[in-house]
């Protein structure tokens, strides 16, 4: 069990390569551009929002674009939502967030809070309001109890003298279903925390047990199999280990599958990315997180 998630990522990589090569080899028989008339879907509000134990809420708002539309820096403006009223409600408290530029994110505008902070066991409601109230979106999330890994370390890959992965030892709580997510940030290299390959996982097969698990570095392009997805000796790595609720986990789990499977022309696309946003797409999720600094050395 301890290494299966990493093996999965490798299997994905190999299958990606296989399908890529099959496409590349058959493509030479006869390939042509196809103009497809797709129904123009209604542009929907897309939420990428999170609230952490002890942290302020963050919400990035965009709109979905027609599939074949090109995006460049000019047209991008059309998809960023800057004129919404974003409110977070918990119990009898609420806060209206303010829009601030932040180039660590894409698009680089984040609705940010400064009063209300996340707490373990809290439930947080998100309300995004527009002039036309038909476009309003709503969502709710919770912050579960934090499960911290027992230890976090760097280890060189067998046979490599410079590249390695992050490993954790985790004691899962028995008697309840737990959902986890791991992100990393290299000092001086990443602007923000980047999700590791297959970052979200559940305790489905190790409920109540202690596991040892390795994680690859997240890539900005998960499908780029030519780049290495490991950490280098000398990297200072901040590891963010999160506990999340079931709905929140299901979003990231289906999100990972979608990224891995969507580009494969032979796969059946019966899967859809789940969302907890009413009248919109994306995720509004609560995290309980612990942070661990690891220096990559032998």
């Amino acid at each position: 069990m301890s290494v299966s998630i990493n093996i999965n990522s490798l299997i994905y990589r190999l299958l990606r390569v296989t399908f890529f090569l099959i496409v590349a080899s058959t493509a030479q028989f006869c390939e042509k551009e196809l103009s497809i008339e797709l129904p123009q879907p209604e542009s929907k509000i897309v939420v990428e929002g999170w609230i952490e134990d002890g942290g302020y809420p963050n919400v990035i708002l965009t709109r979905s674009a027609p599939y074949f539309s090109s995006i460049d820096s000019g047209s991008l403006r059309d998809y960023v939502v800057t004129k919404a009223k974003v409110t977070i409600v918990t119990g009898d408290q609420y806060e209206v967030l303010t829009l601030k530029p932040n180039d660590a994110y894409f698009p680089p505008y984040v609705y940010f809070g400064s009063e209300l902070r996340g707490e373990v066991q809290g439930t947080y409601h998100l309300k995004v309001e527009f002039e036309d109230s038909d476009n309003n979106v709503y969502a709710s999330t919770s912050i579960p109890e934090l499960t911290e890994p027992d230890s976090v370390w760097f280890q060189l890959e067998p046979g490599s003298d410079s590249l390695g992965r992050i490993w954790i030892k985790l004691s899962d709580n028995p008697g309840e279903n737990n959902y986890y997510r791991l992100l990393t940030r290299r000092k001086g290299k990443d602007k923000r925390y980047v999700a590791s390959f297959k970052s979200a996982f559940s305790d489905k097969l190790f409920n109540g047990e202690t596991i040892v698990q390795g994680f690859n570095r997240g890539l900005s392009d998960l499908l780029d199999f030519t780049r290495d997805n490991l950490f280098r000796l000398g990297d200072t790595i901040s590891v963010k280990f999160c506990s999340l609720d079931k709905e929140h986990y299901e979003f990231w789990n289906t999100y990972q599958n979608e990224i891995l499977l969507s580009a494969n022309p032979f796969s059946a696309s019966n899967a859809r990315v789940r969302s907890n946003i009413q009248n919109g797409l994306g995720i509004w999720g609560g995290y309980a997180a612990s942070y661990h600094t690891v220096i990559a050395k032998k």
Binding site: L10, V17, S25, Q28, F29, C30, E31, Q40, T62, I71
Partner: protein
């Protein structure tokens, strides 16, 4: 409803009718040159209608009226025999028919007597002979029985170059393919471009798409019965052909003259050796692909037949085929290997007790295996799936004195499924995944069927099939809570019963003769299918995985109602039919995430979702089997839908192979003894598929927003093929002919699949998506030389 119908069948099966004093004439019908039996020859008494046809063993049995009877025995392509018989007892008599001489202009390619179009009570039957198949234009010179069947109404190919096929809206797994009574699981080579059946080793191909008789079971949509060719009992001969991508050779002859014979055949492709250097200059960037890939297939078959005596005949059939594909990319340190193949063997014993009773025994083995491995640097993964069956069948036929034919028998199979065995090796670890348990099961059936002519015009075929399926251990069952989390594991011992299923399948078909040359027919069929094919892709690939019914996977259930009008025109020269059908499917399966789901926290069986389906349509067929010009025109108007709670928000959606229009035109013209021309034209509505309609960005990744399931149509499929055959030399000792075929004459780019090329650099605000269509075969001429000596 079902109960009432069942009761009706039981009454019907045991119906007793009284007739005047009659005698029975029975025996075999043979080809006078080779001594091989003739299947489907028609025997009737002059002045009466209808008669009967010889069965698969060439055996017939017919009632004679008191006094003098004139018997006519006819078979397409042979000279009819007429004989007057006067008898007061049951007698047996064999007939030897002489092949018709081609110079008379009576070119006949079909084994099916046109009279059976109106007289048989079977509704949806397509029968083709090896000769008929060989006359069609061939893809790269390879005549193909499954491709030929797909040119008939109600039978559709899955997509460009795929020999998986759909019958009246049923899935590719719902077709039973029998080669001399043994099941063949994957009928295709080269990812489906050719079928595994070599026409030189085939006597006939028969497809039943409705009113499936009770002696067949275990699949919902169709039965294809492929009868291997028996060797010549008198003379030795060798036949072969040399084509651009493959060659084949077969030999036949007596082992002991007149009572035993053999036929062996072998076919191998040499795309890798021959095609590669030919194609290399023609395709762009070919060096990157062809230098590192290798592909070939072969198949071999053998049939031994032994007539022990008049009442006993033994035959042994063996088939083995394999596809092997290898790809290597040095700059990526990448290597991959893909191979699959079938093996079947069957031993058949036909025994005649007396002129009223005969039985057929068959014991067979079937094996299908698929394996895939890929390696990049130190990581290696392997994927292996397969199925192994042992099958025993016994089938009794009793012809009653009143003309009823009663058929009953037993069918037993033991299945071993290897659903998806995954191995992964890194430099220091060797891992197996949770999904690798084999699944074992027993499948059996008993059936009884009765064919009764209630009046001269009305004939009823009714049958009952009782089927049972037992999923047995060893097996590990995972117990889950309401959150679908595993709470416990239950282990079953070897042979321990886990889940039994028992079902009753009533079937009936009837024929009413309107006149000497027209009839109406109707049929009602219910059936259960205990095995499923989990299809992970939009095209039929050998990666599809066979699964048995288990506690969680319920058996598929099907029902079909079909009715039609059949007419023969111009003295049986032209046959025509109009057929309508309605089908209902229950417990259909789909994979939610495709084959590469999350191996770590999913047991393969559990990524499956269940739903129902429906299909209905109308089929028209006009066919001319005799004369210089032969051929047919078929048209199908159909609709196929699916409904799954977990797909498309639970709403009904078109099946991916839902096809509104399907047109097939097949023409062949024999100019003289030397030149034959043939053409086929196909038009079919494009396959349905799901496409993304929108996109959005989360954590810097582009995520697709999908449209309604299968709401998009690929462009229509159409194609014209032409061929010309020149008989260069024909003597008793040697025959040589050339076939020139052009596949896809006007080079239509038919879609194989559609994919999206995404160019992105999100951090620099750039994203562009283009749709690309991949087509496989542009215009493809081919030349084949065939010989016989």
């Amino acid at each position: 409803m079902t109960r009432k119908i069942t009761v009706f069948f039981i009454i019907n099966i045991f119906v007793i009718s009284f007739y005047a004093q009659e005698y029975r004439l029975s025996g075999y019908i043979y080809d006078s040159i080779t001594s091989n039996v003739l299947t489907g020859a028609s025997i009737y008494i002059k002045g009466t209608s209808p008669g009967t046809v010889s069965n698969n063993n060439g055996y017939y049995s017919i009632l004679l009226k008191d006094g003098e009877n004139t018997i006519i025995v006819s078979y397409l392509g042979y000279k009819s025999v007429e004989k007057t018989i006067k008898t007061a007892t049951n007698i047996s008599m064999d007939f030897y028919l002489k092949p018709g001489v081609i110079s008379t202009g009576e070119v006949v390619v079909s084994t099916k007597d046109p009279r059976t179009n109106i007289e048989s009570a079977e509704t949806g039957i397509i029968q083709l002979s090896g000769k008929e198949i060989e006359r069609l234009p061939a893809l790269m010179g390879e005549a193909d029985p499954l491709r030929a069947l797909q040119l008939n109404p109600g039978v559709q190919s899955a997509s460009e170059g795929v020999s998986g096929y759909y019958v009246r809206g049923g899935g590719t797994d719902q077709n039973l393919i029998l080669l001399d009574n043994a099941t063949v699981y994957n009928p295709s080579h080269v990812l489906g471009f050719f079928s595994v059946f070599n026409t030189d080793a085939i006597r006939s191909v028969k497809l039943i798409k409705s009113g499936i008789p009770a002696n067949y079971g275990s699949r919902l949509s169709s039965v294809i019965e492929i009868t291997g060719k028996e060797g010549d009992f008198k003379n030795y001969s060798t036949k072969g052909s040399i084509g651009l991508i493959s060659s084949k050779i077969s030999s036949q002859g007596p082992v002991f003259k007149n009572n035993s014979s053999f036929l062996v055949s072998y076919r191998r492709s040499y795309i890798d050796e021959v095609l590669k250097p030919l194609i290399r200059p023609l395709v762009k960037g070919s060096s990157s692909f062809y230098n590192y890939s290798r592909y070939y297939f072969y198949d071999a078959s053998a049939k031994l037949t032994c007539k022990i005596n008049r009442n006993n005949k033994l035959s042994l059939t063996y088939y083995k085929g394999r596809d092997d594909y290898e790809l290597e990319r040095n700059q990526l340190n990448y290597k991959n290997n893909l191979n699959w193949g079938n093996m079947v063997a069957s031993l058949n014993w036909n025994h005649i007790f007396n002129e009223n009773w005969y039985c057929r025994n068959s014991i067979s083995l079937s094996k299908y295996q698929f394996s895939f491995s890929a390696q990049q640097r130190e990581i290696k993964i392997g994927l292996f799936s397969g199925i192994e069956d042992i099958n025993y069948k016994i089938d009794f036929n009793r012809i009653n004195i009143n003309g009823n034919v009663i058929r009953f028998g037993v069918d037993y199979q033991y299945h071993n499924f290897i659903p998806n065995n995954i191995d992964a090796v890194t430099s220091d670890l060797n891992l197996k995944f949770g999904a690798n348990q084999n699944l074992y099961s027993h499948e059996s059936a008993v059936y009884i069927a009765n064919e009764t002519s209630l009046t001269n015009r009305l004939k009823i075929n009714s049958g009952l099939r009782l089927t049972g399926f037992l999923h047995v251990g060893p097996y590990e069952e995972y117990i889950r809570d309401y959150n679908n989390e595993i709470t416990d594991t239950f282990t079953y011992k070897s042979g321990e019963l886990i889940k039994p299923y028992f079902n009753l399948e009533p079937r009936v078909s009837l024929r009413y003769l309107l006149s000497d040359n027209s009839s109406v027919k109707a049929s009602f069929t219910t059936s259960y299918q205990y095995i499923h094919l989990a299809t992970a892709s939009s095209v039929t690939l050998p990666t599809d995985i066979w699964l048995p019914s288990t506690k969680r996977i319920k058996p598929q259930k099907g029902m079909q109602i079909s009715a039609g009008y059949f007419i023969n025109m111009f003295e049986n020269l032209v046959t025509g039919s109009v057929d309508i059908y309605y089908k209902d499917f229950r417990n259909q399966i789909e994979l939610l995430y495709g084959i590469v789901n999350d191996y770590s926290d999913n047991i393969f069986e559990e990524s499956i979702t269940f739903g129902n389906g429906q299909s209905y349509g109308i089929e028209l067929l006009l066919r001319k089997q005799k004369g210089k010009a032969t051929g047919w025109l078929g048209y199908t108007l159909g609709k196929t839908t699916r409904q799954f709670n977990e797909i498309n928000e639970g709403d009904i959606y078109p099946a991916k192979y839902d096809r509104r229009h399907d047109i097939n035109l097949v023409l062949s013209y024999e100019l003289n003894g030397k030149w034959t021309f043939a053409s086929t034209f196909i038009y079919a509505t494009g396959n349905a598929m799901t496409l993304p309609v929108g996109k959005y960005i989360i954590e810097g990744q582009v995520i697709n927003e999908y449209g309604r399931t299968n709401s998009f149509r690929m462009p229509a499929y159409h194609r014209l093929d032409l061929s010309v055959t020149y008989l260069a030399k024909k003597t008793d000792k040697f025959e040589s002919s050339w076939n020139f075929s052009v596949f896809n004459v006007y080079s239509r780019s038919n879609p194989f699949y559609i994919y999206f090329e995404i160019r992105e650099d999100i951090s620099n605000y750039y994203l562009e998506i283009n749709a690309k269509q991949i087509s496989l075969f542009p215009v493809m001429p081919s030349l084949t030389w065939s010989f016989r000596f």
